[in-house]
């Protein structure tokens, strides 16, 4: 009887301690007053212990680094999309963020039911692909890379052409550059999207799908990140000899923090223990450089 009482007491205490012990990771970002701050999670919807660990780290960074929203790179719900799945794999782990009014912007992964686009807390406007502008001069484009049909490509072409934004940031599930052994670069998707990215001066492309973190060396004037390890991990999957990689991390779970200034993007990637596994800053390529690089790429690809 006593043992049972003790058990009832010890387990909640252990859980509480594990939450309290998630000390806020050291923030290395400049944390400037007028910058746009956001976080990134990818392949997060498992409801597993690792998802909750990353969620705790994400929550604890909010105090020192007041990010305004979270981008979800797809596979937001594995194994079903019943109300209980939403609860266990989204609403519970991020409860304190949701309660504080945190906005999430999702993109669909291959494990997501496309009807998840109607879930208002993911701000998809009931669409498989959409765009939003959180601040003047910065525009995000969310794509459904599972089903890149002509309708979506036409929409993207029009939206990019009409976008006068300084920063153009794409996010979708399948990476078009990747050093993953299990999947690797989605070359077909690259053939469809990259010419449009180059034509319209896209700056940054974010993806998930690969269960690791990878920062790709700039490709034709565009920065690429893969962040697909907020609850899933494919240990040792990054090809360490890949010429694409600037930095990778495939030995733990992670999430990203990003800060956008006028022409600089700062990033910090943090693992489940609160340790920083990558950080740095990137300067946007100027329009002239982008045009030059795009021209060069066209010449190379036509050879």
């Amino acid at each position: 009887m006593q043992a049972r009482r003790l058990h009832r007491f010890v387990i909640p205490l252990a859980l509480l301690l594990s939450v309290v012990s998630a000390a806020a990771p050291q923030i290395t970002l400049p944390n400037q007053k007028d910058s746009l701050k956001f976080a990134i999670i990818g392949d997060s919807g498992t409801g597993s212990k690792s998802q909750y660990q990353i969620a705790e780290q994400l929550i604890s960074t909010r105090t020192p680094f007041a990010y305004e929203f979270i981008l979800m790179m797809g596979d937001n719900l594995y194994g079903g999309s019943d109300a209980k799945d939403f609860r266990k794999k989204f609403e519970d782990p991020y409860k304190s963020l949701l309660d504080s009014g945190m906005k999430f912007y999702a993109t669909l992964g291959n494990h997501d039911n496309p009807n998840e686009r109607f879930y208002e807390r993911w701000n998809m406007k009931g669409e498989r692909f959409y765009t939003f502008k959180p601040k003047p001069g910065i525009r995000f484009f969310a794509l459904d890379s599972n089903y890149m049909d002509p309708k979506q490509l036409d929409w993207l072409e029009k939206e990019l052409a009409a976008s006068g934004s300084d920063w153009k940031i794409m996010f979708f599930h399948h990476p078009i550059y990747s050093s993953g052994g299990a999947h690797g670069s989605d070359v077909q998707l690259r053939q469809q999207l990259e010419p449009m990215f180059l034509k319209h001066g896209v700056d940054v492309v974010l993806a998930g799908h690969e269960h690791f973190y990878e920062r790709i060396k700039p490709q034709k004037g565009i920065y690429y990140f893969i962040s697909g390890g907020a609850a899933k991990l494919r240990e040792g999957d990054v090809n360490t000899r890949s010429e694409l990689t600037a930095k990778s991390y495939d030995s733990g779970y992670h999430f990203m923090l990003v800060e956008l200034g006028k022409d600089t993007m700062y990033f910090q990637t943090i693992n489940q223990d609160g340790k920083t596994v990558d950080s740095g800053s990137l300067t946007r390529f100027s329009d002239a450089d982008k045009k030059k690089l795009a021209g060069l790429a066209t010449t190379q690809s036509s050879r």
Binding site: G79, G80, S81, D82, A83, D85, F86, R87, N110, H111, N113, P114, N115, E116, F118, Y119, E120, R121, K125, G126, S145, N146, Y147, M148, D149, P150, K151, L153, H174, A182, H183, D186, V187, Q188, L189, Q191, Q192
Partner: protein, 179 residues
């Protein structure tokens, strides 16, 4: 004799009929008929709309599926993918399978539903939500007939399904489309 040959040539001078165009027109007509059925079902089902209540989304999805099912009572495989239409899709995919990138995507095993998990014996069944949706090669989508909103092509192994996105049901399927 000459007169007979001239008559025969005259008879054959009708505008040539492209058999593929006929099959495609038939495919379109069958899809249009399905869309009509869905529209009627949609009008009587609770709307699938933006909500922060996930249970509402699921309830609307299921209700739509049930209403379409009732309207298509007695439906059989092949109502859309008739043998002629299925044969055309098998031909249409053929050039794509020669492209190494498309081939790689079509053969991607990791993101395919488990063999046997997707019901390919009865139409109108729900697509199992525990299974991933195979990513469609963009060049295939570019060349194949366009579909109305919320109806999509998906591969299940070598087989092709037509899926109602909002009802999450399998409208019809064609087996062994990928060689």
């Amino acid at each position: 004799m000459l007169s007979l040959a001239a008559t025969s040539a005259f008879t054959q001078a009708k505008p040539p009929v492209n058999p593929d165009a006929q099959v495609l027109a038939d495919f379109k007509a069958r899809i249009d008929k399905y869309v009509e059925i869905r529209k009627k079902a949609d009008d009587s089902a609770p709307p699938l709309k933006k909500t922060d209540d996930a249970a509402e989304i699921k309830a609307a999805q299921l209700a739509l599926g049930e209403r379409i099912g009732a309207a298509r009572a007695g439906m059989k495989p092949g109502e859309i993918f008739t043998p002629e239409i299925a044969a055309l899709f098998r031909r249409l995919i053929h050039p794509e399978t020669k492209d190494p990138d498309t081939k790689a995507l079509l053969n991607e095993k990791k993101d395919q539903p488990k063999p046997g998990a997707v019901p390919l014996w009865k139409v109108g069944m729900p697509y199992p939500e525990k299974e991933p949706l195979a990513t469609m090669p963009p060049d295939v989508l570019e060349r194949w007939p366009k579909l109305p909103a919320d109806i999509e092509y998906r591969f299940v192994g070598k087989h092709l399904i037509l899926r109602d996105v909002r009802a999450n049901t399998i409208i019809d399927f064609a087996t062994n489309v990928i060689p």
